[in-house]
């Protein structure tokens, strides 16, 4: 069965510090991995994706994510956090041969000034 785990309900970082939001996955075949962000009272916005190729993918707003096949992880990172990055972040996987996304439970990122 396909699944995604985000082990942290909340991540707190100080502005200017690097941030990491963790994600691990379980899927048959090659995974298609995505990160989305949700700001209050808004829909999910696409940040980045990994399909194939370079394990480090870059996305919107300075975010990047590192695909690690041996650890089945796809952690979201940013070198220097902004207060405006505070939001709810979702990791998702699309398994081979399916169009639907399987989401993790979300991680709230709180960046303090």
């Amino acid at each position: 069965a396909q699944s995604v785990a985000q082990p942290e309900d909340q991540v707190n970082v100080a502005e200017g510090n690097p941030l990491t939001v963790k994600c691990t996955y379980s899927v048959s075949g090659n995974p298609y991995l995505f990160w989305y962000v949700q700001y209050p009272n808004r829909g999910l916005q696409f940040l980045l994706k990994y399909i194939t190729g370079d394990n480090l993918v870059k996305g919107s707003y300075g975010f990047e994510a590192e695909f690690n096949k041996s650890q089945t992880s796809f952690h979201l990172k940013k070198p220097s956090a902004l207060v405006s990055d505070s939001a709810l972040y979702f990791c998702a996987v699309r398994g081979w041969g399916t169009g639907k996304l399987i989401f993790g439970q979300g991680t709230t990122l709180q960046v303090k000034p």
Binding site: Y32, G43, L44, K49, F90, R94, W96, G99, K100, G104
Partner: protein, 118 residues
């Protein structure tokens, strides 16, 4: 281009009543998905339309939920009769391509409908 729009943004109904949620996908997008997030939990897949056909409805919780997409444009999700556990945020998403080429395409989400059943 206009994004995915959902109506209403909020709905508060009593247990046993009926509610219909609407989603207008991005024009030209054949794929339309419904998802639901119950408070604090993961976003769960409900079903997937390709044009007017139901491609995958494996996530529909029970027969109180009915989704339609007549004409392959907008979609409705009806809950009848509503129960307390149906409360949550219902998201609609769309994407353009069909088949395997759609698998690496991100989904475009609406702002969701927050449903509260009292």
């Amino acid at each position: 281009e206009a994004g995915v729009t959902q109506f209403p943004s909020h709905s508060v109904i009593e247990k046993g009543q009926t509610v219909t949620l609407r989603c207008d996908p991005i024009s030209g997008h054949d794929n339309l998905y419904w998802y639901r997030r119950v408070m604090g939990k993961e976003i769960k897949f409900l079903l997937h339309f390709v044009k007017e056909s139901k491609q995958d409805e494996s996530g529909m919780p029970n027969n109180r939920f009915l989704a339609e997409r007549t004409g392959g444009t907008y979609s409705t999700l009806k809950v009848q009769p509503a129960e307390l556990e149906d409360s949550g945020v219902y998201f609609c998403a769309s994407s353009q391509n069909q088949g395997p080429s759609s698998y690496n395409s991100p989904l475009h989400f609406g702002n969701g409908t927050r449903l509260t059943v009292t």
